[in-house]
């Protein structure tokens, strides 16, 4: 479950290529010599997919062993390269978050961008590392996971409560036996008492 790259692009009208506004990629698991080519590949595929995504649409494309998810909102397009195991929904919620964050931090400045910006955007890099675990990106997944854990804990609790019930049952038995025995004891004592007063 891995995110390989996150890109933010400005999806220009159909004729021209999209302009890259921010780029963060994690190529640590490739060999040293492949890294630059992988980055190129990421840039190229990201551009292609972004240019083919119509506005206000989400799209997922399977490319070799990667799934490329793209979300285009009014010209601002976020593209993510994830592997097959990453759940699609969390991918899109992540892209949503990225776009919101970008719009908050850069406002409308991106609309005028004409060429690829080379400045790295730190939020994207830390987002890449933080969201390697899909539960972080998708609140629903997180909630589901926590609920499942709670359910397991509750099942264990119920088991222990049942055991407690059994123990209480045995305690009831023993205490009733004890009270019977003490009653007999009392009667015996009274009997021995009453017997000897005549003498």
């Amino acid at each position: 479950m891995k995110i390989t790259a996150l890109l933010v692009l400005k999806a220009a009208p159909e004729t021209s290529d999209p302009v890259i506004l921010a780029n963060a990629s994690d190529v640590s698991h490739f060999g040293y010599f492949q890294r630059s080519s992988v980055k190129e590949f990421v840039v190229f595929v990201g551009r292609t997919v972004a240019s083919r995504t119509p506005p206000s649409q989400r799209q997922s494309v399977q490319h070799e062993e990667y799934k490329v998810h793209a979300y285009n909102r009014n010209g601002l397009c976020a593209v993510g390269f994830m592997d097959d195991h990453y759940p699609v929904r969390s991918a899109f919620s992540l892209l949503n978050q990225v776009i919101d964050e970008y719009q908050k931090s850069f406002g409308e400045a991106w609309r005028s961008a004409k060429e690829d910006s080379a400045q790295p955007w730190p939020y994207l890099a830390e987002a890449l590392t933080k969201f390697q675990d899909p539960a972080e990106a998708d609140k629903l997944l997180k909630i589901q996971r926590e609920l499942d854990e709670t359910k397991i804990i509750l099942h264990k609790t119920i088991d222990s409560v049942l055991a407690r019930g059994e123990k209480l049952d045995s305690l009831v038995e023993k205490s009733s036996d004890l009270s019977m025995a003490s009653q007999m004891f009392y009667k015996q004592a009274k009997k021995t008492n009453s017997c000897c007063t005549i003498l």
Binding site: R52, Q62, K151, F185
Partner: protein, 289 residues
């Protein structure tokens, strides 16, 4: 007699139609799509098979009536059963051939799809992948055509339903390939619109599951609460028992203590009583001796 003649004739007709359809399926290529004809033939053959099934079951009931009549001749019954079994085996053979033809056709369609993929844009690849899964399924009643001797009518009905949607998918695809330049946009449209639906459906499903988990949890909590209250009652009972036994033991202790004091206080009296008794005994002994 007449019915059996009709049935056997219909079986032959079905066999011929199946052969025709297999020929059509084999020779149809991407550019010479005979989908419509194939579909018609498929529907025809299916209807014929269902009709024949019904006729066969009628024959079977006739045969049973004859047997239940009581005054039957063994030869007649033997003849009936032989004829029925023969017709059934023939019908089964025809349906098996039909099924083979359908599988061959779906294989063909898959091959066509792969070749189309090579020439079409890469975005359509995902669409075709999703669609290709629906087509190459062999008809679901392949598992039910077991040589049990009696063909069921029910398993044939689902294939009629699945045949229609796959046919519409095939028609859509053949319509798409006619305009390769518009193909990309159309397939993307079809792809993105279901994708949007997919996304929202996904979210809806996830929310549903979360909601159901929460309800389950609430049920578990209520369960827990009931169990704990029941066990609380148990605890109260234990407490009462303990109090009762405490009271009993206290009473017994006091009784024994009384006993003890009486015994220990009465010692002087008892010594006197014993002394008197011993005196009496000695007096008795004196008297006798």
């Amino acid at each position: 007699m007449n019915e059996t003649c009709n049935v056997s004739r219909d079986i032959v007709v079905i066999a011929i139609e199946t052969v025709d359809e297999s020929l059509l399926a084999k020779e149809s290529s991407i550019f010479n799509d005979r989908t419509l004809e194939i579909q018609e033939l498929t529907v025809l053959i299916r209807n014929d098979i269902t009709g024949l099934n019904m006729a066969l079951s009628d024959l079977q009931t006739l045969q049973n009536m004859e047997i239940a009549d009581g005054s039957y001749s063994h030869d007649k019954v033997g003849h009936y059963t032989a004829v029925c079994d023969d017709l059934k085996t023939r019908l089964m053979g025809a349906t098996k051939k039909f099924q083979d033809v359908l599988t061959a056709r779906s294989e063909n369609m898959k091959a066509h799809e792969n070749r189309k993929q090579l020439f079409s844009a890469k975005n359509a690849a995902v669409d075709n992948q999703n669609n290709a899964k629906a087509v190459p399924e062999p008809p679901p009643w392949s598992s039910s055509s077991t040589p049990s001797g009696s063909l069921q009518q029910q398993p044939l009905l689902p294939p009629v339903n699945s045949g229609a949607p796959s046919g519409s998918q095939l028609r859509r695809r053949s319509a798409i390939e006619n305009a390769p330049s518009q193909q990309i946009e159309m397939s993307m449209l079809q792809q993105t619109v279901p994708r949007q639906e997919n996304y929202s459906q996904n979210r809806a499903v996830a929310l549903h599951s979360v909601e159901s988990t929460i309800t389950e949890l609430s049920g578990i909590f209520t369960h827990l609460a009931t169990m704990v209250t029941q066990q609380g009652e148990l605890a109260i009972r234990i407490d009462d028992n303990m109090d009762e036994s405490l009271v009993n033991v206290e009473g017994a202790r006091s009784a024994l203590l009384q006993h003890l004091t009486r015994i220990s206080s009465n010692r002087w009296l008892m010594i006197k009583i014993f002394a008197v008794i011993i005196l009496f005994l000695i007096v008795f002994l004196f008297f006798v001796a």
